[in-house]
């Protein structure tokens, strides 16, 4: 009896169709081709432009080494902006991360608006945001620092709330059972569990802030970017190459240090 039953069962059990997979793949290929055509992409242009690259390198060398001393001050300003922006953003991200973590904030009326605000912040193109802030606060580092803070806020709050949602719920339960209130549960149950990750995100965001701060000057928001802008428009390529080398060196050193720091945290 059981054998005949197995046969009828197997008839019902059909292999799932793979047409969905094929269709998705096809759609993707079509989208790519249409996009390439509509932006006028051609391999010919790519190859034609290639020699220009060597041309530019040629114009850039030798770098104007004496320019280093001149741009040290704006470089330091860039680093300071990155530090201040990362600090503000990281501090501000704490309430955002807690209010948008599903396992800590049970109320949808708090959770969803917080996440919505965070999404808007992240959805805004960074450089456009900086340009708008320059329009509001005027040329200079203030606009840049605010742009960097918002940028850091978006990244740290998102990463942190995802870490919070992945914590061990046991200590939260234990703290609830002890008679702790919400703040105490967070402080004793959540904070010790996410502290290393959170600090690691803060350092990470400082790392990417340096790179972002270096181009902020293109829209007038302070830092070394302004000097890039000036030198490029004056076709002063030896100066530009000196700045690129300088920026690269600073970024590498900071990446190295922050990488070391983050590894020691986790």
């Amino acid at each position: 009896m059981s054998q005949t039953k197995l046969k009828t069962d197997l008839q019902h059990l059909k292999k799932p169709s793979r047409s969905k997979t094929y269709f998705t793949l096809l759609l993707f290929v079509v989208l790519m081709i249409v996009s390439a055509i509509s932006v006028d992409f051609s391999f010919q242009k790519l190859f034609e432009g290639f020699p220009n690259m060597f041309n530019l390198v040629d114009k850039m060398s030798p770098p104007n080494w004496s320019y280093f001393s001149y741009i040290t001050e704006p470089m330091l300003e860039t680093i300071r902006m990155a530090v201040v922006g990362a600090t503000f953003g990281s501090i501000l991200s704490i309430p955002f991360a807690i209010l948008s973590a599903r396992n800590v904030t049970k109320s949808k009326w708090v959770l969803l608006p917080t996440r919505f605000l965070m999404n808007i912040n992240r959805a805004f193109p960074d450089l456009l945001m900086a340009a708008l802030l320059v329009a509001v606060f005027g040329l200079g580092t203030t606009a840049g620092i605010i742009a960097l803070s918002l940028f850091s806020l978006g990244i740290v709050s998102k990463l942190t709330y995802e870490s919070i949602e992945a914590i061990d719920p046991g200590p939260l339960e234990a703290m609830t059972a002890v008679g702790a209130n919400k703040l105490e549960i967070i402080y004793y149950g959540v904070v010790p569990q996410i502290m290393p990750q959170y600090l690691s995100y803060c350092i990470y965001v400082f790392e990417i802030n340096i790179r972002f701060a270096a181009i902020l000057g293109l829209v007038g928001a302070g830092g070394i970017g302004q000097f890039y802008d000036t030198n490029l428009s004056l076709f002063n390529y030896p100066n530009v190459s000196a700045m690129i080398i300088y920026t690269l060196a600073v970024v590498l050193v900071i990446d190295f240090i922050s990488g070391r720091l983050r590894r020691s945290l986790i």
Binding site: D168, G170, P171, E173, A174, M175, T176, A177, V178, G179, A180, N181, L183, E184, Y187, Y188, G189, P192, Q193, M195, P196
Partner: protein, 264 residues
């Protein structure tokens, strides 16, 4: 000390966790709850300190209704009920001392606890609690450096530092080896005997239940099917609680006899 009045609990997915429970647990008892996984043991325990909400009925703890309490009064009732979990639920990155001190947060203002300003008496209390479970020398170790049995003893110390009058233990030894199981159960036994703290313990093991309990409650499908001294919990009774009976009983649960007939 703990009174259940017509308590029912239905989970959002329709599962009945508890079905019209009426029971009274007295001060100083060592109550062991036995039953199959999913019978409702854990739900029973978690309703007492309202880690789970009941859907119907009322639970009175020390003369106060915990099911109706809100805000501060609820936190104060919980403060008097310690809890021990199968997975210890310690903050693994924090020190043992800090884990034990976290049992004191219910006694102080939020600001004080967040800045870690525990008075000296609290620290003494924490050290005493650690001493009681023989973990004093590990006070400054990180919780994740300890073995399972040691972590469970720290969580007992947390309940002691809390100055709980009742301790609920949800499968406290399920993830421990036989030797540490004995140590942890002995700790609970001594605390119950010497400090008069009421124990409500969920256990899988019948042997342990027989060894330590003064009173046994058998839970099956969300209902209390046995409640009495351990001496009365005969093999037949346990078979009924665990639904082991004869093969016919096993395959046709609707034909199972009521407990009274089994016992006779």
């Amino acid at each position: 000390m703990i009174e259940f009045h017509n308590v029912s609990k239905v989970y959002p997915n329709g599962t009945r966790g508890l079905n019209n429970i009426n029971v009274k647990l007295e001060k100083g008892e060592f109550v062991v709850i036995v039953g199959l996984s999913g019978a409702g043991k854990s739900t029973f325990l978690r309703c007492i300190n309202r880690l789970h909400e009941v859907t119907d009925g009322e639970i009175i703890v020390n003369g106060k209704s915990i099911t109706q309490a809100k805000g501060k009064p609820l936190l104060h009732i919980r403060r008097d009920i310690g809890m021990i979990f199968q997975n210890f639920n310690l903050v693994k990155r924090s020190s043992v001392l800090r884990n034990v001190l976290s049992g004191r947060v219910g006694y102080h203002s939020t600001m004080k606890t967040i800045f870690g300003l525990f008075p000296k008496e609290d620290k003494d209390l924490a050290f005493q609690a650690l001493d009681r479970v023989n973990m004093l020398e590990k006070a400054y170790a990180r919780a994740d450096e300890l073995s399972g049995g040691q972590q469970q003893r720290v969580s007992i110390a947390r309940a002691l530092a809390q100055e709980a009058k009742i301790i609920l233990a949800d499968e406290p030894v399920a993830s421990l080896d036989p030797l540490t199981t004995k140590q942890v159960m002995d700790d609970l036994h001594h605390i119950n005997k010497e400090m008069g703290i009421t124990m409500v313990v969920n256990l899988h093991s019948i042997q342990l239940a027989r060894e330590y309990a003064t009173r046994m409650i058998g839970v099956r499908a969300g209902e209390i099917v046995f409640d009495g001294p351990v001496t009365e919990a005969t093999d037949e009774v346990l078979d009924f609680i665990y639904g082991k009976g004869t093969t016919t009983v096993e395959s046709f649960p609707e034909k199972q006899q009521p407990l009274e007939e089994v016992v006779q």
